[in-house]
């Protein structure tokens, strides 16, 4: 059965973003990245390629890193989303964020939110990875400036400090 969607159609959608329940009205074809950035003002979510080749748009969906640029907003109904803005709390920076700053695991910073989210989710599930495992886990996040060496150092530092 074919569903015809009109250009001005909006569907209500509710999800939890960074601990807060949000209600949006989105066209069914809209991607999560655009809803987060434009409707909720969460510009920490970056769009660099728009086709799941670079990872800049990474957010956590129920704790798992996903590419928000190819995820339909409506598919996130009822789920939990974490963007970079939700990572630091009342206690200050998340350990991965702190490690990135201290180790200089960033240069222009555009890929950085995605890198940090992927790494924090990975270390949550794998607190004591090998360097090889860490690299594999991070391989879906490109960094054109070339901060990889220090990104690995930052990750291993956080892992070893736990």
């Amino acid at each position: 059965m074919t569903t015809i969607v009109r250009a001005n159609e909006r569907v209500e959608c509710e999800f939890t973003v960074n601990g807060q329940r949000e209600w949006v009205q989105a066209h069914p074809s809209r991607m999560l990245s655009d809803v987060l950035r434009e409707d909720l003002g969460l510009t920490g979510v970056k769009v660099a390629c728009g086709m799941a080749n670079c990872g800049a748009c990474t957010v956590l969906l129920d704790g798992t890193p996903i590419y928000s640029c190819i995820t339909l907003a409506l598919d996130c109904q009822g789920r939990t989303i974490t963007t970079i803005e939700g990572l630091s709390g009342v206690n200050g920076l998340h350990p991965v964020q702190r490690a990135f700053v201290e180790q200089d695991a960033l240069q222009c910073g555009f890929c950085t939110p995605g890198q940090i989210l992927t790494m924090s989710a990975f270390l949550e599930k794998n607190p004591a990875p090998s360097e090889e495992e860490l690299r594999q886990a991070m391989s879906g996040n490109l960094c054109r400036c070339g901060a990889y060496v220090k990104i690995v150092q930052a990750g291993m530092k956080v892992a070893n400090s736990r």
């Binding site: 670079c54 630091s88 240069q107 391989s139 054109r144 220090k150 690995v152």
Partner: protein
């Protein structure tokens, strides 16, 4: 009293003469041996927190009420005349506010002889039209409704072919920039080749390398009736301001350009692009903010690239390794619209001492994608070829490749015999050789199962002196905090941090008390573009001068306030210290109320008695799997002389970034076009930039030695040096590992497999004799 001077400015090998307003210098270079408080220390970026929390707003993050969205329509043809454009359906699509093309765009001037939209398109991707609409979706839909009728024309894609007399003409006057090749000659190469005991030759090709900054070119323009505010992801805010002001016939103070956070650039974002000129004029025309952000395809096709080259090299040398002749002929594929041609032949002219050198550089117009400076333009390509052939020469001479480089070391600039302000190349060789254990080069390659591990090295020379004009202001606030104001840029290079360190050092204030405001033409003073490895060496000295000026004023105030002579007063850690008394600066300023102390500084001219260059060498350890052709760069040791290291933490990040981009150039990056000139990999899926899995161990070994003749900081540029030698070092390591010389970059898996197959066949043929 300010003075007007005319001074030489070197920018990536191009020399111009500029006026600069300079003051009598208040500072003298810090002692080479002096241990400074914060300069030279590994300080974390002062804007690191903004970047890791998502608080940093890049141009693509700027959202204004009633903002419109714009998209380009790109040409599918490499060369064509636009016969007709029918925009009626596109214009009538609900939500479309404008459809622009060459017949109707109000202000069509782009660069000197170029328009934004022309009657002709000259590469597959050339901009044909722009749509401005209520949403990006509507703009995209409208593009599909524009009907363009093209008359395809003959096209030229290969640079060498384009120089032939019967080649299709890209421009009516022909296909050579300046109408003829650039030639250079010293000594007599013919005589040099006659004198040579050994002659080696090679024909090299290098790919089109696309900058691929993750934040694509972006502009948001907002007109309030009098003033235009422009957010632009750009390396040169002052230039963008001037260009837009001129285009819109506005005085400069009516245009404000902001680029606080830039998501990568690498040379592709210098000056106002077409998207900015369109957004600016249409924001005024439509009286609504206009956002023009390129999609990844447009970013890949239209924003420039390191130009592909073909290079013919021939060296002559004596048996002891002394070079007797260097002859280099280069073909540079610049696309249809270059504003200059990079110096691929630069290393041949400058790097080694050789009496007889001849270079011929063809800067060629083609219907390929356009050239834009990409981190060390010309020299990455030139060194790949040059240092590869030097390696071959060493092998022919049965001489250690490093010994061959040292044998031909140039103590002075070979072109004119002038001495350098400093030259750490020999130290770089020594450091790098020790760190990689260069003795391995003289032994057969290590074997690990099917893997062969080789080592290779390559040298680097580059500019990076910096120059006037660059200015800075420092405001001292009544609570003894301070703000630096200068309209320079931070592309991820760490500019803000080093400027803070410099001011903290000179002023004797803690770094936490100093904020840095950059990249805002309304809030700063002129500082020039951030490219050519010039920012630290141009703006840094101006900031130090401004800090010294502010300190001088503060001490004079303190002298009057404390009724003590200035002579014995010092300002350290925010405290005014006299032999008998210590007074916190904040305490004095609080007493004085709302006074303003403004320090002013200018970059003074460079010495004309010496040449200023940066030097370095990189040593790579590379493993090649002889069964699968896989290449793994395991280690790179990067030893560079860039004068005083202001911040070893951010400098090592610059080094690592350059090495990775050079590795991409050498092993995996290339624009792939079909026979009609259409790009087949205009995205990050098909265009391979290195991933974290590809990253080798990178060891930075800076020759951290201040250059007091260069400027008051003793610093030279470091942005570009690290990208120059890596690809050649990798190619030379592969040569050691599997005995194959690759003359064509990138050295991709298919090329390695083919070469290994040939080695195998040759071995079998020899075996069967």
């Amino acid at each position: 009293m300010p003075k007007l001077v005319r001074t030489k400015v070197e920018n990536e090998g191009r020399t111009t003469y500029e006026f600069a307003v300079v003051e009598k210098e208040k500072t003298t270079p810090w002692d080479v041996e002096e241990e400074l408080r914060v300069v030279g220390k590994p300080m974390a970026r002062i804007d690191g927190v903004e970047r890791v929390t998502g608080a940093a707003k890049y141009t693509t993050d700027i959202q204004l009420p009633r903002m419109l969205h714009a998209r380009f329509l790109y040409s599918p043809h490499a060369h064509a005349r636009i016969v007709n454009i029918d925009d009626s359906d596109a214009k009538n699509l609900p939500g479309v506010r404008a459809v622009l093309h060459y017949k109707n765009i109000p202000l069509n001037r782009f660069q000197k002889n170029r328009e934004i939209f022309g009657e002709f398109v000259r590469y597959a991707g050339d901009q044909v039209a722009a749509v401005i609409a209520e949403s990006d979706e509507i703009a995209r839909a409208a593009l599909n409704l524009i009907r363009v009728e093209y008359e395809p024309l003959p096209y030229a894609l290969d640079a060498e072919e384009a120089t032939k007399p019967d080649a299709p003409r890209v421009w009516p006057d022909g296909n050579l920039y300046n109408g003829q090749p650039d030639t250079y000659s010293r000594g007599n190469v013919e005589k040099g080749f006659v004198e040579a005991d050994v002659i080696v030759e090679g024909v090299f090709t290098t790919p089109a390398q696309v900058h691929s900054a993750l934040e694509s070119h972006a502009c948001v323009a907002d007109w309030d009736g009098q003033t235009l505010t422009v957010w632009e992801s750009n390396q040169d805010v002052e230039s963008v301001r001037d260009r837009i002001a001129k285009q819109l016939s506005l005085d400069r103070h009516r245009v404000r350009v902001i680029a606080h956070y830039i998501g990568g650039a690498f040379g592709s974002k210098i000056g106002a692009g077409k998207h900015a000129l369109i957004a600016a004029q249409m924001a005024r025309e439509l009286r609504r903010p206009v956002r023009f952000v390129l999609d990844r395809r447009g970013e890949n096709l239209t924003t420039g690239q390191r130009s592909p080259t073909k290079q013919y090299l021939k060296f002559g040398a004596k048996r002891d390794g002394t070079l007797t002749a260097i002859q280099v002929t280069t073909y540079n594929n610049l696309g249809p619209y270059p504003t200059w041609g990079p110096f691929i032949e630069g290393p041949a002219r400058e790097l080694y001492a050789c009496e007889n050198v001849k270079t011929t550089a063809y800067q060629v117009f083609t219907n390929m994608n356009p050239f834009a400076a990409f981190r060390a333009p010309g020299f990455v390509e030139g060194i790949f070829a040059f240092e590869s052939l030097m390696d071959e020469l060493a092998i022919r001479l049965e001489m250690d490749p490093l010994e061959l480089r040292i044998k031909n070391y140039a103590r002075v600039l070979p072109e004119n015999g002038k001495a350098y302000t400093s030259n750490g190349l020999l130290d770089a060789y020594q450091e790098g050789a020790r760190a990689i254990d260069w003795s391995r080069r003289s032994r057969p390659p290590e074997q690990r199962g099917t893997w062969r591990i080789g080592v290779g090295m390559a040298s680097q020379i580059w500019y990076g002196a910096g120059a006037p004009p660059s200015y800075a202001l420092i405001r001292i606030n009544p609570d003894a905090s301070a703000t630096i104001l200068t309209s320079t840029q931070d592309l991820g290079t760490g500019t803000k941090t080093i400027l803070c360190q410099i001011a903290a050092e000179e002023l004797g204030l803690p770094m936490e008390k100093i904020s840095v405001e950059i990249a805002d033409t309304q809030m700063g003073v002129f500082a020039g573009g951030s490219g050519g490895s010039m920012t630290a060496s141009s703006v840094g000295p101006a900031v130090r001068e401004a800090a010294a000026d502010a300190k001088e004023q503060l001490l004079q105030l303190a002298s009057a306030y404390l009724k003590r002579p200035v002579k014995h007063m010092r300002l350290e850690e925010g405290i005014i210290k006299t032999p008998k008394k210590e007074t916190p600066l904040a305490e004095m300023l609080k007493e004085l109320g709302d006074i303003e102390v403004i320090g002013r500084g200018a970059r003074n001219p460079n010495t004309s008695d010496y040449e200023i260059r940066t030097f370095g060498a990189q040593f790579a350890q590379v493993a090649v799997d002889v069964e699968t052709g896989e290449v793994r760069v395991e280690r790179v040791v990067a030893a560079h002389d860039s004068g005083r290291i202001l911040n070893p933490l951010t400098v090592s990040s610059q080094i690592e970034g350059g090495v990775l981009q050079s590795m991409g150039f050498g092993l995996m990056e290339a624009r792939v076009v079909d026979a009609s000139g259409v790009t087949l990999n205009a995205n990050l899926e098909g265009y391979h930039v290195p991933t974290i899995v590809d990253a080798p161990q990178i060891e930075t070994r800076m020759i951290d030695r201040a250059d007091p003749l260069a400027n008051n900081l003793g610093v030279k540029g470091v942005g570009e040096p690290p990208i120059i030698p890596t690809a050649a070092a990798i190619a030379n390591a592969i040569r050691h590992a599997i005995g194959v010389r690759f003359y064509d970059a990138p050295i991709t898996r298919d090329r390695v497999i083919e070469a290994l197959g040939e080695v195998e066949s040759r071995r079998e043929a020899e075996g069967s004799c």
